[in-house]
């Protein structure tokens, strides 16, 4: 399938994609036996929206020269990107089960040279935004490619890194209007809640003072995500940041809002429970009764 046009899928279809992605994340992490659960689950709606309805991409031609770019700055959340890419058709879903295994192109943290479709190598935090800014600079000032956009997802704990604010200052100075950054505002990081570990607020004010156009949205509302991207694209004199409020561990009750799940995978029993919950959408629909 070629995913090129905005609005190709309905909101309901995107939500279904996001749910499939969440189930894949749980299965991948259980099989891997290590990895991060909370962040990837929280980002499923955003990535499903970007890959299926927003970005101008062709999963069959990852190096397509007219594509939009996607940079995952918080590389530890890559399970959501792998699951989304597989769902979009970049590679066979069977590969998802090789996450973090020897010889797999699905490394624990993303490596561009190992998997077509990845634009960068990340994991150490704080550098993806600047890489995205480099591409955005090139499109805007060197290549005269004003119709292409560069999307970047950063964590919120990641904003502790100085490199982020160096990049923010840079993008602000050069008014990189084709750069659209999503801050995954899930309020958790490894050592606890972000406001306890290293307070980020006033987060909106910080970005505004660096010369960015700022929006805040519910990261689980597909229409809000799409509307915010539309607004960001319409802003032509500044880079855009969309503070995307998400629930860490979204969709799995015992993981939601709990920072302990930042860096843990589910064990077999937990995965079973998580999948049951995702299948029934938290008990809202009848249990399908499928085995894990």
């Amino acid at each position: 399938m070629v995913v090129t046009m905005s609005g190709q899928l309905t909101t309901k279809q995107i939500e279904q994609k996001a749910n499939v992605i969440r189930k894949d994340i749980i299965r991948m992490l259980e099989t891997a036996g290590s990895g991060h659960s909370a962040g990837p689950l929280g980002l499923a709606d955003l990535l499903a929206t970007l890959y299926f309805n927003v970005m101008n991409i062709d999963p069959k031609k990852p190096e397509w020269e007219a594509r939009d770019y996607f940079f995952l700055s918080n590389g530890h959340c890559v399970p959501v990107q792998y699951a989304t890419m597989a769902e979009a058709g970049y590679f066979d879903k069977a590969l998802l089960r090789t996450l973090r295994k020897w010889g797999s192109p699905l490394q624990g943290h993303p490596e561009r040279t190992r998997l077509p479709g990845l634009e960068n190598t990340s994991g150490p935090l704080g550098s993806g935004l600047s890489q995205a800014a480099g591409v955005a600079y090139s499109l805007q000032y060197l290549d005269n490619q004003l119709h292409r956009f560069v999307y970047c997802v950063t964590g919120d704990g990641e904003l502790n890194e100085g490199n982020i604010w160096e990049g923010a200052m840079f993008a602000g100075k050069y008014k990189l209007s084709q750069l659209i950054v999503f801050v995954d505002r899930n309020n958790i990081q490894i050592d606890g809640n972000t406001e306890e570990v290293m307070p980020l607020e006033d987060l909106r004010g910080k970005w505004e003072s660096f010369g960015w156009h700022v929006q805040e949205i519910d990261g689980h509302n597909i229409e809000s995500i799409q509307d915010a991207v539309g607004m960001a694209k319409a802003i032509t004199n500044r880079p855009s940041v969309i503070i995307t409020h998400t629930i860490p561990g979204k969709g799995v009750d015992f993981m939601e809002y709990d920072y302990h799940w930042h860096g843990l995978p589910p064990n077999h029993e937990q995965a079973k429970e998580a999948l049951r919950e995702l299948r029934t959408l938290g008990g809202k629909v009848k249990h399908e009764g499928m085995s894990v």
């Binding site: 770019y69 940079f71 490596e111 561009r112 040279t113 634009e119 960068n120 190598t121 990340s122 994991g123 150490p124 704080g126 550098s127 600047s130 890489q131 995205a132 800014a133 480099g134 591409v135 955005a136 600079y137 090139s138 499109l139 000032y141 060197l142 290549d143 100085g162 490199n163 160096e166 990049g167 200052m169 840079f170 100075k173």
Partner: protein
């Protein structure tokens, strides 16, 4: 092997120029040759001689301010967009401060980001220990995918810059601040990964990199009157190391000394020691800065204090040669 042409008046009124000046000229030429070449600087444009490129190609010059982490990560993005980015700052800051970003977003990511470290080594003189970067060779040499080049003079820096613009690999180029002797000529060859025998001899091999190569030539000349016939090899590429040229020489001479304006731990000396220990374990001595920091002083004063001028080197080499016998196969 192509012959390395040395300048005619090597020991009598040799001309001098800062190595960084050659980089400045080379970058401008690289910009003329290839429109993908872009330059990024962290608020040191004239100091690292990027102004020539900036003035010729203002649309391809990007000022990033005093932000070395951003310097190389933006460059990584530019490389992803098909550009050949040269980044420049002082070596103390880049790669001194941003090593991880270089590793992750340029080297592991295999993007042709060029890290140019200016004001490296002891010739940074009066600025003192914080600015006399001595650990950069070790830092960059340990990084897979990375090419490490330390030109011997300004003419070679110019050629090296052009070669790095075309090599398609993440690369480090080390530059010195102060005027140093120009021992090569416009005709001298430069190829990434090649070492050059500048002077043939039978008693000892002397391997130098950067500004130390000229000092070794001076030392070798002085050693003649002590009946020591030294072979001098110039090693402008630390990585990949020209194993063949070095092993070929030490097989003949049976002992080797290395000289560099850097920490002896992890630099050229370590590279040659690793090579010879594995393949031809000849006696070896590393000359450079011995596990300490530099300090302020006039550039030449600092070099002499550390015993890295030609005269001091000759003395150390002579002592070593008189004390340590040549390795003979089967001994």
């Amino acid at each position: 092997m192509s012959e390395f042409h040395l300048t005619k008046n090597l020991f009598d009124g040799v001309s001098a120029e800062p190595i960084r000046a050659g980089f400045g000229r080379g970058l401008k030429t690289a910009g003329e040759v290839d429109s993908r070449v872009v330059a990024l600087c962290a608020d040191l444009t004239e100091s690292v001689q990027m102004h020539l490129f900036r003035d010729a190609f203002p649309e391809r010059f990007i000022e990033v301010g005093v932000a070395e982490q951003n310097l190389v990560t933006v460059a990584s993005g530019l490389a992803r967009a098909g550009k050949i980015p040269f980044t420049a700052s002082y070596a103390a800051f880049s790669p001194g401060r941003n090593w991880e970003q270089i590793k992750t977003t340029a080297a592991l990511n295999d993007q042709p980001v060029k890290v140019v470290g200016g004001h490296a080594g002891l010739y940074t003189g009066p600025d003192g220990a914080t600015h006399q970067m001595l650990e950069d060779i070790a830092l960059m040499r340990s990084m897979p995918n990375m090419v490490v080049v330390v030109p011997g003079d300004s003419l070679e820096a110019e050629k090296a810059t052009l070669a790095l613009a075309a090599n398609g690999k993440p690369s480090y180029l080390r530059l010195a601040r102060d005027k140093t002797a120009i021992f090569s000529t416009p005709e001298s060859p430069f190829e990434i990964g090649k070492a050059y025998v500048l002077r043939k001899g039978h008693d000892v091999t002397l391997c130098g990199t950067g500004t130390m190569t000229y000092e070794l030539l001076v030392a070798a000349e002085a050693l003649k009157k002590h009946h020591i016939d030294a072979e001098v090899i110039h090693v402008p590429t630390i990585k990949p190391l020209d194993s063949q040229t070095i092993l070929h020489s030490v097989e003949k001479t049976g002992r080797v000394l290395t000289a560099e304006e850097a920490q002896i731990n992890g630099g050229l000396g370590s590279a040659v020691a690793e090579l010879t220990a594995e393949f031809l374990p000849v006696p070896l001595k590393r000359l450079g800065v011995e596990d300490r920091y530099g300090e302020s002083g006039a550039p030449r004063e600092v070099i002499e204090h550390f015993g890295l001028d030609g005269k001091s080197l000759a003395h150390k080499i002579r002592q070593y040669v008189e004390r340590v016998p040549q390795y003979k196969k089967g001994f």
